[in-house]
Symmetry: D2
């Protein structure tokens, strides 16, 4: 057992920290959104710099090619602390490094399950940052936490599939540069319950695809990263070759996608927490009320201590989950992945709430990033399945240890 990062990780952490300090933090105040929801100019600039430095596609654990050929060839454990660093400037840094959701998960799906043609057509431009992508799973009509509820139909018709359904909270889809949707739907509604779904590639400009409206998240449109769209698929016809993997493999691919996806979300969230704690500490050191800095108030010290204690614990569990994924695979890391999906969002939400409170009115305003970060973290408590579903599932696995 050893809690030190290896030398490659340390070197990349150093490089990335410098990149944040020199390029990203100074750019934060320059972030402005585009009227058409396209990628903000400042992110484009940062991408160029990052790519030049080789800080690009660090997330991709490429199992099919030599290290470096695609992605940086890092293990999950090596990538984790880097993702955390990007979370410190979460509106800019992940996108700057081409390591932002949902593109990361989509690239992993294509890399792992796509065929040569699909990888050529969609993975390459995603890896180069030319286009963006979306993952269309959640539906407004059903509890999508239970994937067997999904109602969108993907019906075979000759050499094509025809897609009909309604999806929402499709992150990134408002950005016109988002050229491709991975759509989850039913190919065989009568099959065994986990063999009914498939994933299929639907180019944005296919007839019948309507990006209907922007959903908000506690009042935020999240324009800078392409928003969250409601998308209607009305007799959308694509070639059969657009199906990813075998028909009926959708549930399995989703499971494979969500494991690393959760790790990435959690890694970045730890970075968010560190930034929030820093902002809180700085604010309370400067702000004076009733004759002394807020930092001298016992209740505020209590928040700070609690924040530090929670962050340290949560980070270690994320790192262990990453290590397990590397050593025993996603399946062997099931409990830990579920555990971090449960604990990290609520932990970081708690810290953000206290950081907001310490900032007073500024904390809920557009003048600090805290309120928007809060909204994002709060939403993680229900995205990819609400906490309650994961808690129940984890509990049942625990109970099985002691049941005949």
């Amino acid at each position: 057992m050893d809690f030190a990062f290896d030398s490659r990780t340390e070197a990349l952490r150093e490089q990335l920290t410098a990149f944040l300090t020199e390029h990203v933090y100074p750019a934060e105040s320059r972030l402005t959104v585009e009227p058409d929801w396209s990628t903000p100019a400042v992110i484009r600039e940062l991408q160029q710099e990052a790519r030049g430095q080789g800080l690009w596609n660090l997330f991709l654990v490429d199992k099919h090619s030599l290290p470096g050929e695609r992605g940086a060839g890092l293990t999950n454990l090596q990538y984790a602390p880097l993702a955390e660093l990007t979370g410190r400037s979460i509106q800019l840094a992940p996108a700057a490094l081409n390591c932002a959701a949902p593109d990361t998960g989509n690239m992993e799906v294509l890399n792992e399950f796509g065929d040569e043609a699909q990888r050529k057509q969609w993975l390459e431009p995603l890896l180069s940052g030319e286009i963006r992508s979306a993952f269309a799973m959640t539906e407004p009509e059903v509890a999508s936490s239970d994937a067997t509820n999904i109602r969108t139909l993907i019906t075979r018709d000759g050499d094509d599939y025809v897609i009909n359904g309604r999806k929402w909270y499709i992150t990134g889809a408002m950005n016109p540069e988002c050229r491709i949707f991975i759509v989850m739907g039913l190919t065989d509604p009568e099959a065994e319950v986990h063999r009914r779904q498939s994933m299929i590639l639907v180019p944005r400009d296919t007839p019948g695809v309507t990006v209907k409206r922007a959903m908000t998240v506690f009042g935020y449109e999240d324009r800078d990263h392409g928003g969250h769209a409601e998308v209607v698929f009305d007799d959308v016809r694509v070639p059969a070759g657009n199906l990813i993997g075998e028909p009926g493999s959708g549930f399995a691919i989703a499971q494979a996608r969500l494991g690393p996806g959760r790790i990435h979300h959690c890694m970045r969230a730890i970075g968010v927490a560190e930034r929030a704690l820093e902002l809180m500490c700085r604010r309370v050191s400067e702000r004076v009320a009733f004759g002394k800095p807020l930092a001298a108030q016992g209740v505020i010290q209590d928040w700070i201590a609690e924040s530090r204690v929670r962050i340290e614990q949560a980070r270690l569990l994320v790192l262990k989950a990453a290590w397990l994924m590397d050593t025993v695979g996603n399946r062997g890391a099931h409990t830990e992945i579920q555990a971090i999906k449960i604990v990290v969002p609520q932990t970081v939400e708690w810290i953000l709430d206290k950081a907001v409170q310490a900032h007073g009115a500024a904390g809920v305003s557009q003048d600090t990033p805290l309120a928007q970060l809060w909204a994002g973290l709060r939403t993680l408590r229900l995205a990819d399945g609400p906490d309650e579903v994961h808690r129940r599932s984890l509990a049942r696995r625990e109970l099985r240890k002691y049941q005949g």
Copy 2:
């Protein structure tokens, strides 16, 4: 001791419930905001209906005139359950009845502390709903929870006062119908600490007043009730007669204003909680996951029980605080007013959080009122002084019981 409402209260509750059912709830889906932030048309319609029914200015406890002459002549205890009912449709009902903050508090200040001319010029059109008003206290530069931090200057110059300062989160001020600001500032920075401040009436169109920008609250602009403005006062000159009460009385008037204001906020918040609980119960009864309605899940039942138990307790404390204000005055009700200021926002926020979670993605979206209600309630935890200030003050009073 008697926990039944009196007959007048019961009659008004019945009338108001009918008004909500027939007019307000059906209008909710018709609420659209105006480009210039002015009062939405649907609220105008509802106001006409409410006024016709005598459901108008119910909040005003008029100590200077006969019951009914100004306001409905209700006690705080009679008004409380009516305010709660308006909280069930908080975007429409309080405004429909001319019982919305900050106008209510401003009308109370004018009624109680304004002179005849001030009441004639500003109270009359506010009571009739012709104009709106704002209360300019909070400043971005200082911890305004400690009123002695306020820096805006109100300087005597001949027959005028000249005002210089910057205020933000001035609720309602984006609405062009908001014609008058009550501004809190320093008239005598050298005086005893609670005699330094005064309140002064500043018409919106006075030269030097700049409504600079709309502040957001967790991404919401709250356009339907006039937003939250940053307002700059730059050598703003008004006649000396615009000062409310004596010079140096600002702190005392603020204290007098905030007591009833808190009661009103808390009353309405209980109504918000009831509505949220209803929405949660309805949602979980309809939504099916993993083969049964969400309502059958033990964890969700636990939220519902906890919500009911908390609401019942919080409501009784609000009612008792109202009763104390009626019987022993604001001063005698100090502990209870502070207690509800502490407990009601956090209670209702908790319930809203659970209602959001039970709604999944819809809960954070614009398709239910829950996320916006949450943002409003969360902000109450720091508006009019953060919880922590009130908790400390309440604790010190408790400790004094046992200290020499």
Copy 3:
């Protein structure tokens, strides 16, 4: 609606407060337990004084006789604040006034459901304080929160009933003065599920009754009030006339008994909380660490404020539940009774935890009453059905409001 106590209540509160100050508090340090678990001498002394003052059997809401004939003829609402006062010295005061559980509940059962002979034989000596009683419901083998699980058999055999079963946590039963047990068991295991149980009177000295051992509660034996016994009933034969009410009425009587029982527990628990808060305030005002009294620490002030806010809310809900029992009966007060059963123990436990913490090692020791009070309150969270059962039941009632 009126939050003032009536004049009779106020007079009794004054009298009882004087009794506590003059007689009870000074006696606390003199409480010593008897080797045979019988009533401590100091309680006997206090009983004599209390009885002389008419502070006796205040709990009994006598529906069959004129006020004063049996009990004081108080309403639940009048008794509530008196019970709270006795909670301030909960080891002495309830027993001193002959208002201690489980005798109070047992006397109510006999008064309400006993026949003339049963009342003569057992109610009279209980009312006069000559003997004590126990209520034997909980069984070690089954989840007794679900009364239908009860396994003790009460079998008719000629003119007798024969009782076989094992009960535990039979409070008071270690005291040899506890002469009579009310035993809950199955008279008709085949009947409709809520008509299977009956209650029967079993004198302590009946052959086959074995008081087997003293159960502990977090290390406490609670010797001063007769402990908590495990009792075995092995072919215990009593005359058929010992059955209370009709065969099959046990469940209904239990429900009738538990409503007021919960109110009494909760009333007293509020008094416990007030005492704990007083002890906490006194301690932190005296104790110095790191150069200032603990009372100056923000975190401790936060505990004090939270305690006060929670007590005020909980007390009002208990009082409202009492008022509902008086005005619409136990059935109409169902939600509120359940609500206080849920919220009061956890509230008071929380306050006791903080009071313990504020006392350091003394808090967990025998030198303050806090640790023992904590153990008692903690146990209330599972006595008479664990919180979780009540929360689920309350939630289901709430949900039914919105379901077809």
Copy 4:
């Protein structure tokens, strides 16, 4: 970074697990306390077995001798998971392996700071398990969390020191086999604040030493491990050579002692949590209420999931703290040691509370270990300084990162 235990640790874990299964768990029901508080016979038996297997003094990180000469020569990181295993049977296993507090800490002090004579006279018999020891620091009169409050005097008088003072909660001191006390007191009340205290060795049978009474912990005497004594030192005279280290070094030695002590407490507490979770899972799988096992209740599943998530996080933080102590020393591990002192007791207390609740009345009784374990863990929240002191200290260190 590597989360796997090394091979020596794995081998010892295997051996220790077998020892627990074969010897310790079966002995639990045979534990009975001795009337004179001496070491229970069953512990003596287990000690013989453990020693025979080389499972003895594993805790001792011996910096002065070759591995194995004294202690097992394990690192803190190697010892941590073993200590956790002993926590699974905390009343027997730590004592069985001669790894129980307070002896472990006392042996470390003697090993590290004692001179040759002191080590010969006291360390040897402690290492062999012949005698036991106590650590006399806490005083009833002062907030001992602030060591500068300590009032016991250690006054030089010729070749002797004379000790006067009162200590309490001196764990283990009721056991007559406890032959030696390490007493903390003032040798120079006028010195710089952290150079005032010294530690001195006081044999139990020195004239003037009175073991006055047994303090209880939530009703428990903890007889099986020597209880918690109040001890009076009245003109107790010992040779000057009994002083440990230099005069004035008491505070520094205490700091050095408490670091590892906290690690040990926390390691074992994780084992307690694992055992409690196992007991909870087993109980709810067997117990039926309302027609299904408790394990099928969503709320109980929620407790189980939360328990698992919290344990995983807390364990990792304890392990990291151990690793830091090994690699950068106690000073470098300060934040992490403080963090586990804060978080582990509250985490394990929470889990025990839920395990108690899941067991109903049995949970608070003497028939399961849960209530007693709870009392021990609750007490850890205030032993060695209450949480609040550590939280404040940790917060201040965090704040200093951002302050000039």
